[in-house]
């Protein structure tokens, strides 16, 4: 429980989940691409249009260049200017079509890619909501956040730019090669030889570049992790005059990153000049051989050579471009892979079929399902029968561990009858919070059973189960929004009066009215402007607003001073009246009036009974209780 609780603090991504340019060699490239394609599949019609437009625009580009040579030979040299004007008109038409098509496909691609990315984001968020808590316990926030920030960004970038240019490069390349073959097969051979050299270079430089990129990503991860941890703990750094050490630690990691980054970027940056100049070499050789051919005659004239040289220059462009895009594409695939990994995690299992419904009860005690808030609840079984919700919770020989091998709770048996207040006492790490997390099925137990009104909790729909339990957690969490919004989180359709009533019940009304804009005050940054005690009061108000049949209060008042606690006691009593309540508290005065107190130690209930029983037993509870009396 302990490590789980702490784990929820935001921490940076592991190495390899750094910022832009996230680079990891994809494990299953084709599988991931298939999944991406499935997303794009929705836009099949659009994509077909995109490809068609791409073909036209490439054809226009290639064709436009092809016209140049005959224009010189057939119109300019003979001086046929009306003909030239006509041909230029044709050329203009071709070019305009090309530009229009290329605008068309780019614009459609933006639409497709942004919609696809939005859908991936939405699906990812939806899936994330369904993941079991265990997953959030074992993955840092930074890691999950980077799915939304870095990974989706790389996919978006690749879809925006790379998809189109990949297709157009392939088309241009094919088109150019065909034209070259038509003009002069023998000269094309030179180009082929050169292309082979280029591919080899791409492979060599690319391989190095990938290795260094991986090192860079690791370094980025470490720098970002260090930054995140230090900035989070900045206040402690100040208190301990630790600024210099923090700077030194940073300088070291920053330097490692600089070195790794420099190396990676050098190789990435080399790609373009190397490829570009190799294409010049190709150009030069083609020039020489072409010139010799032209001088030698044989149906290959000046115009042909001019056109061919245009193509010779063009042919390497798609390859340079693809090699440039390769990093983007590979990062995108790796990013997509990480996104799909999250989406494919087994979601919380929910095989329950018993649902929670609102009911009305007639005089004879018969229950009828009602579609509105009646204040009474019942369980609706799959066969349609209704049984009233009473709040009877039983643990029968429950064994649990977050990790199969490490048992946290040993053989826990306990019962809470409707309306009873059950308290858990024990030192930190004894397993108190864990027990309450099992009632609302945040985690699955390993053996034993937990029943709720006689129904195995596994048979109850998870949402229904949780709706029936109001939880006030140890860690307070407030959302960005107004104070009223935060209280209303308990019940979204609560009216303003109900919100205020809940706040009064929780004793939060007074301080809320002192806020600059009262209930309309906007909280941000997890309610950072409020004191810890005030945040807890809001959390209680939220649970009060939800008005659930069963309450779990996990150290709900730990940061509230005892005097305020005393003041809100009445409200708390009213809140707890008639409900089954599970209370966890360090402060024994909070739990004294509980019906049963369970003393937990290392995952076992070592004592149980009411306050007086336990004092009589003179055991652990007695020790804890008198721990402060020792001082007298």
């Amino acid at each position: 429980m302990v490590s789980m609780a702490e784990n929820r603090n935001a921490h940076p991504g592991r190495p390899g989940h750094g910022p832009k340019g996230g680079f990891r060699k994809p494990k299953d490239m084709w599988g991931t691409l298939r999944k991406l394609m499935a997303y794009l599949g929705r836009y099949k019609a659009y994509l077909a249009v995109v490809v068609a437009l791409l073909v036209i625009s490439s054809a226009c580009t290639v064709g436009g260049s092809y016209i140049i040579s005959p224009l010189i030979d057939d119109y300019i040299l003979p001086g046929d200017f009306p003909g030239l004007a006509r041909m230029l008109g044709v050329m203009a038409a071709v070019y305009i079509t090309g530009a229009a098509c290329s605008f068309g496909y780019a614009r459609i691609m933006v639409h497709v890619s942004q919609n696809t990315v939005a859908r991936i984001r939405e699906d990812l968020f939806a899936r994330m909501q369904k993941l079991p808590l265990q997953y959030f316990d074992t993955h840092t926030h930074g890691e999950l956040m980077s799915r939304y920030t870095n990974d989706i960004e790389t996919v978006s970038e690749a879809l925006n730019n790379s998809f189109g240019s990949l297709v157009s490069c392939a088309l241009n390349f094919t088109g150019t090669i065909i034209m070259m073959l038509v003009l002069s097969p023998s000269l094309t051979l030179i180009t082929f030889a050169m292309l082979a050299v280029m591919l080899w270079v791409v492979k060599t430089i690319g391989g190095r570049s990938r290795r260094y990129f991986a090192a860079q990503q690791k370094a980025v991860g470490e720098v970002n992790g260090y930054i995140e941890e230090m900035i989070e703990g900045q206040k402690v750094i100040k208190v301990f005059n630790h600024e210099h050490a923090a700077m030194a630690g940073f300088a070291e990691r920053n330097e490692t990153y600089r070195q790794a980054g420099t190396r990676a970027q050098i190789y990435a940056g080399m790609m373009m000049p190397v490829m570009g100049n190799l294409s010049y070499v190709n150009y030069a050789i083609t020039c020489c051989v072409g010139a010799i051919l032209a001088v030698g005659g044989g149906g290959f004239d000046l115009g042909d050579l001019a056109a061919f040289l245009l193509y010779a220059k063009q042919v390497s462009q798609p390859i340079t471009q693809i090699s440039q895009q390769m990093n983007t594409i590979l990062s995108a695939v790796a990013g997509a892979e990480r996104i799909f990994e999250v989406m494919e995690v087994q979601p919380e299992t929910d095989e329950g079929q018993v649902a929670l419904v609102r009911v009305t009860e007639d005089r004879a005690g018969r229950l009828t399902e009602a579609g509105f808030d009646t204040g009474s609840w019942a369980w609706k079984h799959p066969d349609g029968t209704l049984t009233p919700l009473r709040g009877d919770v039983r643990f029968d020989h429950v064994v649990f561990g977050y990790d199969e091998r490490k048992v946290i709770l040993h053989d826990i048996s306990l019962f809470a009858k409707p309306g009873q207040k059950i308290a858990f006492v024990g030192s930190t790490g004894a397993g108190k919070t864990t027990i309450t997390s099992l009632i609302n099925r945040f985690y699955e137990i390993q053996s034993g059973t937990i029943t709720y009104d006689g129904i195995d909790v596994r048979d109850i729909e998870k949402d229904s189960l949780r709706r029936s339990l109001g939880v006030v957690l140890q860690d307070t969490h407030l959302f960005t929004g107004t104070v009223a919004d935060n209280i209303r989180y308990g019940r979204l359709d609560a009216s303003d009066e109900e919100v205020e009533a809940a706040a009064r019940l929780a004793g939060a009304d007074t301080f809320i009215r002192h806020l600059p804009r009262g209930y309309a005050t906007v909280l941000s940054g997890d309610g950072g402007s409020l004191s810890q005690g005030e945040r807890q009061l809001l959390n209680i108000a939220r649970a009060a607003c939800a008005n659930p049949p069963v309450l779990i209060l996990d150290e709900a008042t730990s940061s509230i001073d005892t005097r305020t606690e005393k003041l809100i006691e009445k409200g708390m009593d009213r809140l707890m009246a008639g409900r089954t309540v599970f209370v966890i508290a360090h402060r024994l005065s909070t739990v004294r009036n509980a019906k049963a107190i369970m003393v937990l130690e290392q995952g076992e209930i070592i004592e149980r009974g009411d306050h007086d029983d336990l004092l009589e037993q003179r055991g652990r509870y007695y020790q804890l209780y008198t721990g402060r009396a020792e001082l007298d």
Binding site: N115, E122, T140, R258
Partner: protein
């Protein structure tokens, strides 16, 4: 803005200059090569001079190799400069944040500071790198290509007089339109990330209240907003390319028409006309590069602004008023804290100048060195704020806070905070071993000193049970210890400083009462001369204190010993009785 950023790039001036030089040289070579080619066509082929052709061909290959060398040189220089600039900037920003007072940190929020240090800086270093490669190369190519085309034909070059201004207008219109769009894109991204972040931190709340659908809705709304913003922004960007193409093609056609007439008229050779086309493409390509780089720059300007904001933030608290030690013979060392006495002289405080209510109002109190002081008070009564003024985490707005007989402003922060040790309410352990964390208190502490501090903080019992003892790895944020254990380690860390004043801000809330009592008795025995301030909610924790302060609504409602307060203070009696009810039963 540039003035603020340039100093961090300055150490790399040589690299930048060399890199720019390489880029420029590479660009020039790229233009010279077609010139050679045109020679081959016009002279070599015209004369049927194979020798000439081969010679020129070889020259071309040599030029390509040289150009390649320059290109690689540019890659190296730009990488070194870009990464170096990024590293310097990151370091400067990080170091500057270290000088921030609490109020500065709160103004930015930690999450935002992290982004400004990571993503924003990375973006800047990328920008410098690409600008060096593209932004320099493009104008060089543009100018040389223009010069060369003018050399080929002055008349024909007139075409550019139309094309280039047209292009400039189009690009600037797009840039002007895209700028605000990218800003709104950035804002909406932040808004979306906020929902995700809050969902992650509050996942238990979300699941407990079965609010997945509600969260999904919130997300979907922002997701849609982000989508439409990015579609709009990128929609404008994609206009760039086709318009460029149109202008390039228009130029080609115009050149074909006018150039064709010149060729026919004999004022221009056919080969030159072809070379001219090559230049057109090159000029237009370089203009496109410029416009793309500008696109990138619009996005980086936002990042640069955010970084400069951090760099320009003035630390709210600094050492400017620190005094020198009068007892020091040379009068050169700053004053040190003499003892642990604390005086508040009519102190008032609020967190922000424009908030209407005071957090602390007219506090006047005097604590002698070595006293143990308990501070009790209701939620939001100002306990934490009161003690935060002592190590000068915040600055009092009115009145003076003094430690050791001098105002806190008179010390350097280093001296003051060395003497005043605070265990914060929300405390943090850092990744690394327990030992490394404890050494924060005193880097030179011996093994015995470490254990002594742990014993005083009652951390020894669980440390002894850990197989690696002090060398246990805590994992990030101290995930491997429980809340109560963490608090005890934080206390041990604070004790190791051997402070003149030790402040515990509700630091034993997760520790059981018996251990709490043990820790306090250790304080009495081992920190005899240290002034101890203990904020707590348990009356029993402070009953035997020399002085108890009862805070209420930002004022000290009452002060005195336990027995005095029982006599005089209603609030205190109430609190006492609320906590003592149980004990009576058992005597």
């Amino acid at each position: 803005m540039l003035k603020k950023l340039w100093p961090h790039a300055q150490p790399y001036t040589l690299w930048i200059v060399t890199g720019v030089g390489c880029s420029a040289a590479e660009a020039i070579f790229e233009l010279l090569i077609p010139l050679v080619m045109s020679d081959i066509v016009d002279i070599g082929i015209a004369n049927g001079d194979q020798n000439f052709i081969l010679r020129k061909g070889l020259l071309m290959v040599v030029m390509a190799v040289v150009s390649l060398a320059f290109g690689v040189g540019a890659a190296i220089c730009s990488s070194v400069a870009g990464q170096g600039f990024g590293a310097n900037l990151r370091k400067a920003e990080y170091d500057h944040i270290q000088t921030f007072a609490f109020s500065n940190i709160e103004r930015f929020s930690t999450a935002s500071l992290v982004t400004r240090l990571t993503n924003d800086v990375n973006n800047m270093q990328m920008t410098l790198m690409f600008s060096m490669r593209l932004l320099v190369r493009a104008p060089v190519m543009l100018v040389s290509a223009l010069v060369l085309s003018v050399r080929i034909s002055m008349e024909l070059s007139g075409v550019f007089l139309v094309a280039i201004p047209l292009l400039a207008v189009v690009v600037s219109v797009i840039l002007v339109k895209a700028g605000p769009m990218f800003r709104s894109l950035q804002e909406r991204t932040d808004a979306l990330n906020l929902v995700v972040q809050e969902d992650l931190t509050g996942i238990r709340v979300v699941k407990s209240f079965v609010r997945q659908d509600h969260e999904q809705e919130k997300f979907a709304k922002r997701n849609q907003a982000l989508k439409s913003a990015s579609e709009r922004a990128f929609g404008v960007v994609v206009v760039n390319m086709p318009i460029m193409m149109l202008i390039v093609y228009g130029t080609i056609i115009a050149v074909m028409w006018f150039g064709g007439q010149m060729v026919y008229g004999g004022t221009l050779e056919a080969g030159k006309l072809i070379t001219f086309f090559t230049y057109i493409t090159q000029i237009m390509m370089s203009l496109m590069m410029v416009s793309m780089t500008f696109m990138m720059l619009t996005r980086s300007v936002a990042c640069a602004k955010r970084i400069v904001e951090v760099l320009e933030e003035r630390p709210a608290i600094d050492d400017s008023e620190a005094e020198l030690d009068v007892n020091d013979a040379e009068c050169e060392r700053p004053a040190a804290v003499k003892d642990g006495s604390i005086d508040f002289d009519h102190v008032s405080f609020k967190y922000s100048a424009d908030s209407p209510e005071w957090v602390l109002r007219d506090i006047d109190l005097h604590i002698r060195s070595g006293q143990t002081v308990g501070i009790l008070g209701g939620t939001g009564s100002g306990k934490t704020s009161l003690v935060a003024l002592i190590p000068r985490l915040y600055e009092a707005d009115e009145g003076t806070v003094s430690v050791g007989g001098r105002p806190v402003r008179a010390y350097t922060m280093e001296h003051l905070r060395d003497a005043v040790s605070v265990v914060l309410q929300k405390n943090t352990l850092f990744s690394g071993t327990i030992r490394e964390n404890l050494l924060w208190g005193d880097p030179n502490a011996t093994e015995e000193q470490l254990w002594a501090a742990c014993r005083a903080a009652c951390a020894d019992e669980f440390l002894e049970r850990m197989p690696d003892g002090l060398d246990t790895d805590l994992g990030q944020g101290g995930v491997n210890v429980s809340g109560g254990q963490k608090q005890r380690l934080c206390i041990a860390r604070a004790i190791l400083k051997r402070p003149k004043v030790l402040i515990l801000d509700d630091s034993t809330s997760a520790v059981d009462t018996a251990t709490d009592a043990k820790i306090r008795s250790a304080f009495v025995n081992e920190l005899r001369d240290t002034t101890k301030l203990i904020i707590t909610q348990r009356v029993t924790s402070v009953m035997d204190a020399d002085l108890i302060l009862v805070m209420d609504g930002g004022r000290v409602a009452a002060q005195g010993t336990h027995s005095e307060l029982m006599e005089t203070c209603e609030i205190y009696r109430e609190v006492y009785h609320s906590q003592q009810e149980g004990v009576g039963i058992d005597g």
